[in-house]
């Protein structure tokens, strides 16, 4: 069947394939066939080595050597490896990869041309400067085979930290980082986790190596809100051993980039003047803040490609004109407009959603978001987030978030460190959580009980502050059908037979409160047994159920500040009386207090519950304690009110034929 031409072509292909045959890289030690493989994982990382060295001033080279073995078909699917780098400030020096059989006898090498360089599109309004150099190796592998990569990148962004965390999602046989300073230079480092081993000296050049072997995988990410510490080791290279980064240096560095862009133009001044409100300071600036928040759309465009490009905003006048800008553009625009009105204000750097990245005793430029600090020449609005920096009080406002109103900071801006870029600022400040003195939610649940255990339930609630802003945002962005389904699901988890549900929600005045009313009928709310009816009071509970911390890695979870109150009102049906009420209950643990109290008056049982917690950033142990506390609250709230039947009901219960009629009592005395 095969023609001569076909044979010739196939022979050429075979020669070409043979030319591609290769040997495994010499830095990779293949695991012995008899060596035990880790279990309960789809992948095994054999090598995870990084070497960083200063090639020339302002330039650091990074070499990544990485090898892994998929242990199952699911692991093969995950065999993609890549390195992100910032286009312009970094360049790829070399990229190689190898795919091989377990014994290395069948091996194929890949050159840089076979890698893909891709820019992730975050959305239509954001083009990320980061590129990834990636090689997907799934096609070349099967379970038990090995893939290895070696990529070298030169970065001109030496101002930023080198971060390292030895553990990965999957078990790792060998993890290592080497940092080598230039001649007469030094490596400054700090470990922020016990997982980081002690460094070894690389000799007279001052280089250091951290190495760890046979590390377990960190496993699944539970609880879901965990922020893993991906920079357990932080380091930077200095040209001389006496050098040191300070917060004041960073303030000066950032101001140098930002302040020239805050130039006031007549048009900008006119715009600010026309927007300004009347009254005190806060009334005056509120319309300006709203303008920058609502009328300037988020768009990140970074054209410069030097190492400080990420800190350099567009000119405020241009942003006002185009109505597009990213966080620093919006922050600089707002500062410029406020200053034109005589209001002192500064861009403030924070870590959005990464509260533990910045540490007070480790000055670092690792911020990812810009907001605005407005000097308090008058008493700040009640409950507003205030920080003290450079001897002054400032109210913080985030003009990038388009739904959290002035006076409240978005959840993910809080709890970490911030750096107010005021001239005299020499220290980072803690971005405060909201005060626990302000109520966050008030909920009333009224249950009109019937003798057959069914009930008409009405719930009304008012949310305040950030919770109100979140709920209002949800109303504006999520489909009504989805919101209704979510509400139904929440109710039906406690009460299985719900009907005739109606609900509505509306914003309160000033956007700082949000209200919702829900009503429905439910069967089998009270569970009858032996002439008693057990009526649960934990319908629409305020106590969250926290997941156990099964993640084996270090990390943090942020708990929101709460000052919540719930009132449950249960009307006792005719023919029944209160047999017993759950006892009063209070609990105080750390700064969290909770209480529950029931009273019986005029045919109604009234229960009042409150939870007050300042919230904060919790590590594993603190999270465990907090979870225990919530569990105790759940147990307390879970105790039902017990009613006793005092005479038979006048008419047959209106329950459906399906309802087992007080099943256990049918056997009373048996």
């Amino acid at each position: 069947m095969m023609t001569k031409a076909t044979r010739l072509i196939l022979a050429c292909v075979a020669v070409a394939c043979a030319a591609r045959a290769a040997s495994p890289p010499d830095w990779l030690s293949l695991p012995a066939a008899s060596a035990p493989r880790p279990t309960g994982t789809s992948l095994w990382i054999l090598t995870n080595h990084i070497r960083a060295w200063q090639h020339e001033p302002e330039s650091v080279n990074y070499r990544y050597r990485f090898a892994m073995m998929p242990l199952t078909a699911a692991g093969v699917k995950r065999c993609v490896f890549g390195i992100p780098y910032v286009a312009g400030t970094s360049t790829v020096v070399s990229a190689k990869a190898w795919a091989m059989s377990p014994d290395g006898k069948k091996c194929r090498e890949f050159g840089g041309a076979e890698f893909v360089v891709a820019s992730p599109v975050v959305n239509n309004f954001t083009w990320d400067q980061t590129k990834n150099i990636v090689l997907g190796a799934q096609k070349f592998l099967q379970p038990g085979w090995i893939v290895a990569w070696e990529i070298e990148i030169r970065s001109d962004s030496s101002a930023f930290d080198i971060g390292w965390s030895p553990r990965e999602l999957w078990p790792t046989r060998s993890a290592e980082i080497e940092i080598v300073p230039p001649k007469n230079g030094a490596v400054k480092w700090r470990a922020f986790s016990d997982d980081v081993p002690a460094p070894l000296s690389l000799g007279a050049n001052g280089g250091l190596r951290w190495a760890a072997n046979d590390l377990p995988g960190v496993g699944e990410r539970v609880p879901g809100s965990i922020e893993r510490n991906t920079m357990q080791l932080r380091a930077y290279i200095l040209p001389n051993p006496q050098g040191q980064k300070t917060w004041a240096d960073l303030v000066a560095l950032a101001r140098k980039e930002m302040e020239p862009k805050a130039a006031l133009t007549p048009a900008l001044a006119d715009r600010a003047r026309s927007l300004a409100g009347t009254g005190g300071l806060w009334e005056k600036i509120l319309p300006v803040c709203r303008f920058v928040q609502k009328d300037v759309s988020y768009l990140q465009v970074t054209i410069d490609s030097d190492s400080m490009a990420g800190y350099r905003p567009h000119a405020a006048a241009d942003v006002c004109e185009s109505r597009f800008g990213d966080c620093k553009d919006k922050a600089v625009l707002l500062c410029t407009m406020l200053r034109s009105l005589g209001v002192e204000s500064y861009v403030t750097l924070v870590n959005y959603g990464a509260r533990t990245v910045s540490r007070p005793d480790w000055p670092s430029a690792a911020f990812n978001h810009a907001i605005v600090a407005i000097a308090c020449t008058e008493a700040p609005p009640e409950g507003a987030p205030v920080v003290r920096s450079a001897g002054k009080d400032f109210v913080l406002f985030d003009p990038t978030d388009d739904y959290v109103p002035f006076g409240i900071l978005p959840e993910r801006d809080r709890g970490g460190l911030g750096l107010v870029l005021a001239p005299a600022c020499d220290a980072a400040v803690a971005i405060p959580l909201p005060s626990v003195d302000f109520p966050t939610i008030e909920r009333t649940v009224s249950m009109g009980m019937e003798g057959d255990g069914s009930a008409s339930v009405e719930i009304s609630e008012t949310r305040m502050g950030l919770l109100a802003a979140d709920a209002q945002n949800s109303d504006e962005t999520e489909p009504l059908l989805d919101r209704t389904a979510a509400l139904e699901k929440r109710i039906e988890q406690k009460l299985p037979l719900v009907s005739d549900m109606t609900w509505k929600s509306s914003p309160g005045t000033g956007g700082k409160t949000w209200e919702r009313q829900v009503s429905f009928k439910a069967q089998f709310v009270g569970r009858r047994s032996n002439g008693l009816m057990y009526v649960p009071a934990d319908v629409f509970s305020m106590v969250p159920v926290l997941e156990p911390w099964t993640d084996s890695d270090a990390g943090f979870v942020t708990i929101a500040t709460a000052n919540a109150k719930k009132t449950v009102s249960i009307s006792v049906p005719a023919g029944w009386q209160v047999e017993s009420l759950p006892g009063d209950w209070t609990l105080q643990s750390g700064s969290t207090t909770s209480s529950l109290r029931y009273v019986n008056a005029e045919g109604k049982v009234r229960g009042e519950m409150s939870i007050v917690t300042p919230g904060g950033v919790l590590n594993r142990e603190q999270y465990g304690e907090y979870r225990k506390l919530l569990h105790a609250m759940l147990v307390a709230e879970h105790r039902p009110v017990v009613l006793r039947r005092i005479r038979p009901p006048a008419a047959a219960p209106s329950a459906p034929a399906s309802l087992p009629p007080d099943a256990p009592t049918a056997h009373a005395g048996s």
Partner: protein
């Protein structure tokens, strides 16, 4: 000066090729009658109605199509119409660069307000979890998300009319493109669909209308245009366990079927079939063409015959022979799916399925799933057992109608093996392995076309009975003085239930299984904490799929002084009822019949005694059956057994009340409670 010109020409050409990029939406004038209209006409409860919905598709290009839609919506109740006025569009960040949307709101007083791209807002609908570490983030394809853009139309009032214009250029084309008309949010008074189709002699172009709802199709061959109009289309109701949208909505399918797909010979040993007259049945053509492929591509050369003889040596029973060949093909296919492939490019297709037998020594060869199906056919035929390809509609897709003749309506592919007088359908080449005689659930309950020459034979494919898809939990838990439950659970799955569990687990790395265990064990809605301790039977359909776990359920039972009410049906607590709404518009569609069984051994706290035990409860029989029983086994142990059976896949709305009643009876029975009482303290010994 040369560079700008070089750049400019392609740009200009691109713009000229995309009329929508500069086209302005036309806003037809809103009539006084439309503004004065004050009540819905199709559904009196509808918060809005679509007065006019037009879809215009430019299909004249080979690879991409441009879709323009215009919608005129009348608002009757703005508060409930927010989903109608929320013009949403899903995207994944890469495909909608040129997506454009504009809207005009005409208020009852005639004033208008315009909206455009600048009013688009966005939210993430789904986001992948974040992995740990620098490498973990890269390796886990982290931070991918599905986003939804929507035009936030504000200021909508009762009586307003909203016009929306959307343009989606460059949508990817395939040989099978479906456009659905009806929407969940509003009925449609007038619908008009226009497709400017492509003329290509290499393809059959046909347009099908599914659920035509009394509409009318017209065809202009000269203008290469197909149109379809319909009136008074009700809204689709979003209900749990509703059939797929293809069963509910008017849908128009543009099918471009390659003319040459059936007659490319491989072996050279099989004669091409002759013409098939339509009198044999319109499907007979496809059955004949596939029969030719079975014979040609599944041609048994010497290697195949030898392999078949080797596999079936000493076996007389045809089914046993088929079983051996099935297991062999399944293993070979699995090896193919998982093998490392070092090829840069493929230089050839296989010339005979016999080559697959030496799979480990093949290189430069392009292989497909169908090659392994044809190998199976060749082996089975060589073993002296008749078999043919069979094609199935999917219950997860569109309703099947005999007169809608296109193989695209039969996307499922299995093999029909004749054992005696009966046909057995099977598929040895699935990603999640199936046992011999099993099919995916969505290929059951629908007819299958058998590839017999010059015949139109459809086999009835029964739905596997509930007992075949059993999910059984054996639970051994202890209750402590504080009402916490702790113990173990072993859950086994068979049939379709096992298939689904295998599919879920195989899609994840082992490191993610624990996170899935709660869901698979049926405890997803509870506050129970689950730690997976073992998984068996993942790879082999011959083994029972089994999950073992430790469970801890904090505060399961409340403690009230000396009493502790305990709900006996432990495994269902916190699980919302499957069906609850008293109204039902659409049929209830279950994927497959199932039985769920739980056997619970409940160890009571040492100083508590159980109160009176409930009588066994049963509800329903036949298609829907439920039983719960509990007994005091003594020594502080309660034994609870619960079984629920759903032995149907489709329940029409008129039968819904009895189904709902059954579910409600179950929900009530699942709340059956035994009150534990603290035992009186006995006097201590002197």
């Amino acid at each position: 000066m040369r560079t700008p010109i070089r750049l400019g020409i392609p740009f200009l050409a691109f713009v000229l090729a995309k009329p929508g990029l500069w086209a302005k939406p036309l806003w037809p004038k809103v009539s006084a009658a439309e503004l004065a209209d004050n009540a819905p006409t199709i559904d009196p409860e509808a918060p809005a109605e679509i007065l006019d919905y037009r879809i215009d598709i430019d299909d004249t290009e080979e690879r991409a199509r441009d879709i323009t839609t215009t919608t005129r919506i009348k608002i009757f109740d703005p508060a409930r119409a927010v989903d109608v006025t929320r013009i949403a569009h899903f995207w994944n960040g890469y495909s909608d660069e040129y997506y454009d949307v504009k809207a005009r709101l005409t208020l009852p007083d005639g004033t208008t307000r315009d909206f455009d791209r600048h009013d688009l807002r966005e939210r993430n609908v789904a986001e992948e979890g974040k992995a740990n570490g620098f490498f973990g983030r890269l390796l886990a394809h982290n931070d991918r998300s599905l986003a939804e853009k929507f035009l936030a139309v504000t200021g909508v009032v009762k009586g307003a009319v909203l016009d929306v214009w959307e343009f989606r250029p460059g949508e990817q084309k395939s040989d099978w493109m479906v456009t659905t008309a009806q929407r969940p949010d509003a009925p449609i008074r007038s619908f008009e669909y226009t497709d400017h189709f492509m003329v290509d002699s290499r393809r059959f172009h046909r347009t099908f209308v599914i659920n035509p709802s009394g509409g009318h199709m017209s065809h202009d061959e000269k203008a290469h245009t197909i149109s379809f109009t319909a009136q008074n289309l009700p809204a689709i109701h979003r209900e749990p366990f509703a059939p797929p949208a293809g069963f509910l909505s008017l849908a128009i399918v543009e099918s471009y079927e390659s003319v040459t797909r059936y007659v490319a010979p491989r072996s050279g040993k099989v004669r091409l079939p002759e013409g098939v007259p339509a009198s044999l049945g319109e499907w007979a053509f496809y059955a004949t063409a596939q029969d030719y492929q079975d014979a040609d591509k599944g041609y048994a050369d010497k290697k195949v015959k030898e392999k078949a003889a080797e596999l079936t040596a000493g076996i007389a029973d045809p089914r046993a022979k088929v079983q051996r060949i099935y297991d062999y093909t399944q293993e070979l296919y699995s090896r193919f799916r998982n093998r490392a492939d070092f090829e840069d490019s493929y230089t050839r297709y296989i010339e005979s399925v016999g080559e697959l037998i030496d799979l480990n020594h093949m290189d430069s060869t392009f292989l497909r799933r169908e090659d392994f199906v044809f190998l199976f056919i060749g082996l089975v035929r060589s073993a002296g057992v008749e078999c043919h390809s069979a094609f199935h509609p999917l219950r997860s897709g569109f309703p099947f109608k005999m007169d809608m003749v296109s193989p695209n309506f039969l996307p499922g592919w299995s093999v029909a093996v004749k054992l005696g007088d009966t046909w057995m359908l099977c598929d040895p080449c699935t990603d999640v392995p199936l046992g011999l005689g099993e099919l995916p659930w969505d290929m059951e309950g629908v007819p299958a076309l058998v590839a017999l020459p010059r015949q139109q034979v459809f086999l009835g494919v029964p739905v596997a009975p509930a007992a075949k898809s059993l999910s059984e939990a054996t639970v051994d838990v202890s209750l402590d003085d504080d009402g916490n439950l702790e113990g173990t659970c072993t859950r086994t799955f068979t049939g379709h239930s096992a298939y689904i569990v295998r599919e879920k687990l195989k899609g994840l790395g082992e490191e993610g299984w624990n996170g899935l265990a709660k869901d698979i064990l049926g405890l997803q809605a509870s506050s129970c904490e689950v730690t997976l301790t073992g998984v068996d039977g993942l790879e082999s359909p011959q083994e029972t799929m089994t999950l073992r776990a430790k469970v801890y359920w904090p505060s399961y039972a409340p403690v009230l002084g000396d009493r502790m009410p305990v709900i006996l049906s432990v495994w269902t607590q916190g699980r919302p009822p499957i069906l609850n709404s008293s109204k039902r518009q659409t049929p209830v569609a279950f994927h497959f019949p199932t039985i769920e069984k739980e056997t619970i051994t409940l160890h009571l706290p040492a100083d508590f005694l159980p109160g009176p035990m409930p009588k066994p409860i049963s509800a329903g029989s036949g298609e829907f059956a439920y039983q719960l029983s509990a007994e005091d086994a003594g020594h502080g142990v309660l034994k609870v057994t619960r079984e629920s059976k759903i032995n149907a896949v489709y329940v029409l709305p008129d039968k819904y009340p009895s189904l709902l009643d059954w579910f409600r009876r179950i929900s009530v029975a699942d709340q059956t409670t035994v009150v534990l009482q603290r035992a009186p303290k006995t006097a201590s010994s002197p």
